[in-house]
């Protein structure tokens, strides 16, 4: 799990990070999910099990996304795994994340090695992996979603150099 977060953070060249659980990393900023969020945005925000831990996670995750200049990483319990109990997520989580940005990655984490080729298996994954992995993770790109939107943003920022 740590390796997944570190790899994504590196790919986004994260200079600053915020975690809502010390279980996922000891970054310079760690907040409890029910605590106050900082006002200053960071490059990458990492959230653990928000649908299970946070009442009103549908509003909480978009707030985290707004704090993330580049990406929001959401690690959640895998509802496809039998015995996980009732989970509030599933397709509802996907809808919330896509409303917050562009979901670039979806991976299943920590499936038993006898059933999975690696600790991190990207979707679409086989049935055995989907049914055995205890967690899955999403990487939400929170930058403007299309080239046109990015171009408009650069114009608005006064940093547009092209014709």
């Amino acid at each position: 799990m740590h390796g997944f977060v570190e790899r994504v953070a590196a790919s986004y060249e994260a200079g600053s990070m915020l975690f809502d659980s010390a279980l996922l990393g000891n970054g310079p900023q760690t907040v409890a999910p029910d605590g106050e969020l900082p006002e200053q945005p960071v490059d990458v925000v990492v959230s653990l099990a928000a649908p299970e831990r946070v009442t009103g996670w549908q509003e909480y995750l978009p707030r985290l996304a707004r704090l993330a200049r580049k990406a929001l990483i959401v690690v959640a319990r895998n509802a496809e795994r039998p015995g996980q109990g009732s989970s509030p997520e599933g397709t509802e989580l996907a809808g919330v994340l896509w409303a917050a940005g562009r979901v670039r990655e979806h991976a299943y984490l920590a499936a038993p090695r006898m059933l999975a080729p690696a600790d991190v298996v990207h979707a679409p994954a086989g049935r055995l992996v989907r049914r055995s992995a205890p967690f899955h993770a999403f990487v939400v790109d929170t930058r403007p979603r299309s080239r046109q939107a990015r171009r408009r943003l650069r114009v608005a920022d006064g940093t547009h150099g092209g014709a």
Binding site: G95, W98, R102, V103, A123, P124, R145, S146, R147
Partner: protein, 367 residues
């Protein structure tokens, strides 16, 4: 009749209606909903953008769709460019909740990229529980595509949209990416190269093609775009070989491929023989709803059976009307023949020998 009627029983009902000439007691299983004629593309093979009508509103669709009694299994949402409409996601949501089809198919030109990036994730979310087939229109490679489609940087934009769809597939496994090529005189000689390059660039779950033809709907009745039968046969022979060599593991993509294996031969024969090679069930098993509420048996003839706006938005009233019966009589009398893919799909399923071959393709026992 309720949707719970098994599909095979429903197909039998269509056959009885066709054979007896009686008005069908069933609604169509295959419905195309054209939501606008507006389109930013200026394709060499289509002038639909010239047509201006008053499009049905979301509220009007909300009154109309329940009268379909959840019978259509396959709903195609077409245009024009559907993404001209800012409310497209809401129309698709109504289709999913009020019609409950098994497959929602959206052909896409990829031009209005920013709108697509906004609406497509919502559309994917609304269609969970059905299969969402997104077919990108790719008629050539690179700038040659842009010239045929009359849209600057269209090919580049299509690649952006394909990237978005691949991302959507990671969280919405019901999304299927297809690539669709209109085979015309402009590209018929290059189909093997276009198919090969499009597969490499877009990595679709399925690749399909359809012949450019003269359609009233598209205002192409005077255009010289249809390739010769020999050229079309050569192109589709390649496509059939490719399908056989690269069968998809995705169930919906595999079904589409199985239908295509039959359809390509059927389309070639119809072009060659200029007759209905198998019986046509347009107006019985399939129908097309125009953006302004006119109901057609098919978009080739685009003859109105009536307008739902004039009948309280009740699809059944128009469907069971005298004008619709006259259309069915004409089709049954073989007064027309065309290789329209959408109607051909249901025609193939309703023709016993074709259905047997499609089934054999599907399970892989066709040699």
């Amino acid at each position: 009749m309720s949707k719970r009627l098994p599909l095979l029983a429903r197909l039998a009902g269509y056959r009885v209606a066709h054979a007896t000439g009686a008005a069908p007691r069933q609604l169509p299983v295959n419905l195309t909903v054209s939501v606008t004629y507006s389109c930013p593309s200026r394709c060499a093979t289509c002038d639909i953008w010239q047509k201006k009508v008053d499009d049905l509103s979301v509220d009007e669709y909300g009154r109309l769709f329940p009268t379909l009694e959840k019978v259509p299994v396959w709903v195609t949402v077409s245009g024009g460019d559907q993404f001209v409409r800012r409310d497209l996601d809401e129309i698709v949501r109504l289709i999913k909740t009020q019609i409950e089809p098994g497959i929602v198919n959206i052909p896409m030109n990829g031009v209005i990229t920013e709108r697509i990036f906004d609406l497509l994730p919502k559309i994917a979310h609304h269609t969970v529980g059905a299969q969402l087939v997104l077919n990108l229109s790719v008629d050539e490679i690179g700038e040659a595509h842009d010239r045929i489609r009359g849209a600057d940087r269209n090919f580049e934009k299509l690649q952006q949209v394909a990237g978005l769809i691949h991302d959507l597939k990671k969280t919405y496994p019901h999304v299927v990416l297809g690539v669709h090529t209109v085979i015309s005189k402009l590209n018929v000689d290059r189909i093997p190269d276009i198919e090969r390059e499009a597969r490499t660039i877009f990595r679709p779950d399925s690749y399909i093609a359809e012949v450019a033809e003269n359609r009233v709907e598209l205002k192409t009745m005077d255009k010289d775009i249809t390739p010769s039968v020999a050229d079309f046969r050569r192109a589709t022979a390649h496509l059939r070989n490719v399908i056989r060599a690269n069968r998809s593991s995705h169930p919906v993509a595999r079904l589409v491929e199985s239908l295509r294996l039959e359809y390509y031969e059927l389309a070639a024969r119809i072009l060659e023989e200029k007759r209905q090679v198998i019986e046509c069930y347009a107006g019985i098993a399939s129908a097309h709803l125009a953006p302004d509420g006119h109901l057609w048996g098919c978009c080739i003839r685009a003859e109105s059976m009536g307008n739902v706006r004039d009948h309280g938005y009740d699809f059944r009233v128009v469907w069971n009307g005298a004008v619709a019966d006259e259309f069915r009589r004409s089709v049954k009398a073989h007064e027309c023949a065309c290789p329209l893919a959408n109607a051909s799909y249901t025609n193939l399923l309703l023709d016993a020998p074709s259905l047997a071959r499609v089934s054999a393709h599907l399970v892989g026992i066709d040699g």
